[in-house]
């Protein structure tokens, strides 16, 4: 009997150790993503027959807008100046009952570019982006002029060759939609803009290339999605209005029907993104809730290989769910570590080291890769790339990567503070490190509350450096779990744009 109990206790400790290492899964999936990036040259979907200028499709650019006159002023002019045949490109702005000077501005733009710019006014608006887009799609698909429709946002500014680059892929009849690389490009970027710029490089320039390699895209960027007319017709000529992630639903439905979605990382465009924690929280809460809704709706698709599409690919499922469940992984890992701290401290230290060595090496690999992928973003956001996990987590990484010197420093600090370097002090420090894996999200939520209470400004940048941008994103995903569990109203909370995109 004693033997059985002893065996069960040993098994329980190993189960706890495995639960700790579950915390490394999202990091390992990300590392695989960066390995796939290196293989992209063989799956870049660039062919010699894509360069015939006579074959360029007629593209209608669809821009939903609500009170965005300052950004439209710049973006419409930029679209008219794109390196694309003038007779093959029109811009349709769907004005969602704007109350600013959008109608007057668009009247002026229609007069300035006769036949090439359209103003589609909704007298009753406020239903959300998908409804606005559907109004525009109905108008654009009513005649047979448009061979492809580019759905974008009012603040997005395209590189002159971006649309031409995107249309290259439409020579393949299997392609239903193409997306581009959207860069954060605020003219005078603050610390938050720089974090987002770095994140977008990792998520798009790297992540979406990796998704090209496995042949399954998670999401057409909302601000740069080029659809063939055939694809839109197959989707019923309208965008899904039932979730907060209409672009993700469109992406998955396109692929489920057997049409490919391609990312072209060389087709670049620029957008303005939130400049503070509250703005980011609002935007990402909407995205995370949308992804949870999409995850529920398409749960039958993941991890189920199909001949028609690649969404059932194991890596795609792992990528999707490890991102969405990351806060859960962190809480489980932290709770298991704290339990081991109480039951079997030496085993706890061993798996903690294993977890953080994996995380630290993964961080080095992904950070160096991201900074190498885009030199412009690297110059602009390298500090934010290095500070992405936050100072405290960086210190933990240093602890496991350079144990001898780091422990000497910590010991010196503890002794200088009069705490000494006793087993009890070391035990408590270990507990703090174990708890931080989950508590970092609470700290990030605290930053959000502080910023909401009183705008933190540059102080927010310093606090973010300590807590980390990664933990903030995890905290937002956790908040999305709570909002969905509570069944909170899914309102369309629009990110305010001011027209500060600065492009050289």
């Amino acid at each position: 009997m004693t033997d059985v109990l002893s065996w069960l206790a040993g098994l329980g400790l190993w189960v706890l150790a495995i639960l700790v290492l579950v915390g490394a899964i999202p990091n390992l999936v990300t590392v695989v993503q960066f390995v796939l990036l290196a293989l992209h040259r063989w799956r870049d979907h660039l062919d010699d027959d894509q360069v015939d200028l006579e074959e360029l499709p007629r593209v209608a650019v669809l821009v939903p807008a609500w009170n965005e006159a300052p950004v439209l002023r710049l973006s419409v002019d930029r679209m008219m100046a794109l390196d694309y045949p003038a007779d093959r490109l029109i811009v349709a702005v769907v004005d969602d009952a704007s109350t600013d000077e959008t109608p007057e501005l668009m009247a002026a733009k229609c007069a300035q570019y006769p036949g090439r710019v359209r103003h589609l006014r909704r007298e009753k608006g406020g239903q959300g982006k998908a409804h606005t887009l559907n109004h525009g799609l109905r108008e654009l698909l009513a005649d047979d002029w448009a061979e492809a429709v580019l759905i974008t946002d009012a603040d997005v500014v395209f590189e002159p060759t971006a649309i031409r680059r995107m249309t290259r892929h439409l020579t393949d009849p299997h392609v239903g939609a193409v997306t581009a690389f959207i860069k954060e490009a605020s003219g005078d970027p603050n610390w938050m803009n720089r974090y987002i710029g770095y994140e977008y490089t990792a998520a798009q320039a790297v992540g979406r290339r990796a998704q090209n390699v496995v042949g399954a895209q998670a999401c057409l960027a909302g601000g740069a999605q080029l659809h063939t007319r055939a694809n839109l017709d197959a989707l019923g000529g309208e965008i899904d209005t039932t979730t907060l992630a209409e672009d993700t639903v469109t992406t998955l439905l396109t692929q489920l029907d057997g049409r490919a979605v391609v990312f072209d990382g060389n087709a670049e465009c620029y957008a303005e993104e939130p400049a503070d924690i509250v703005g980011l929280w609002k935007q990402r809460l909407r995205w995370s809730r949308g992804n949870l809704q999409v995850g529920r709706r398409f749960k039958h698709v993941f991890f189920r290989p199909s001949r028609l599409h690649h969404l059932g690919n194991w890596w795609f499922g792992a990528m999707w769910w490890s991102t969405l469940l990351l806060p859960g992984f962190m809480v489980v890992s932290s709770a298991a570590l704290v339990t081991l701290w109480w039951l079997d401290a030496s085993r706890g230290r061993f798996v903690f080291d294993l977890l953080w060595i994996t995380n630290a090496l993964g961080f080095v690999f992904t950070t160096v890769s991201t900074l190498l992928v885009d030199r412009g973003v690297a110059r602009r956001s390298w500090r934010q790339g290095l500070a992405f996990p936050g100072l405290i987590s960086l210190f933990v990484m240093l602890w496991v990567l350079a144990p001898a010197p780091t422990r000497a420093v910590v010991r010196g600090v503890c002794e200088a503070l009069g705490w000494g370097w006793t087993p009890e002090v070391r035990h408590l420090l270990a507990l703090a490190a174990y708890l931080w894996i989950a508590v970092c999200m609470l700290a990030a939520w605290g930053l959000y509350r502080l910023d909401k209470l009183r705008t933190l400004g540059p102080v927010g940048g310093v606090l973010m450096f300590v807590v980390g941008y990664g933990p903030l994103l995890c905290a937002i995903t956790f908040a999305a779990y709570v909002a969905e569990a509570r069944g909170q109203a899914a309102t369309w909370d629009k990110t305010v744009k001011t027209g500060k995109v600065g492009v050289a």
């Binding site: 960066f34 010699d48 360069v51 680059r165 003219g187 412009g376 350079a402």
Partner: protein, 47 residues
């Protein structure tokens, strides 16, 4: 904010983009080398 500027000619543009994609392999190798150096330095000097 600046970005890479490709030639206006679509053929050169395609060549330029393919070259960029090919470079990604070597960038990945370079990042892996950095990780290897970190591991070696850790084992030799920092433990």
């Amino acid at each position: 904010m600046t970005s890479h500027r490709a030639p206006d000619d679509p053929v050169d543009e395609l060549r330029h983009d393919r070259r960029r994609e090919k470079l990604l392999l070597w960038k990945g190798v370079l990042a892996a080398v950095v990780v290897a150096v970190v591991i070696v330095v850790r084992q030799l000097y920092l433990t």
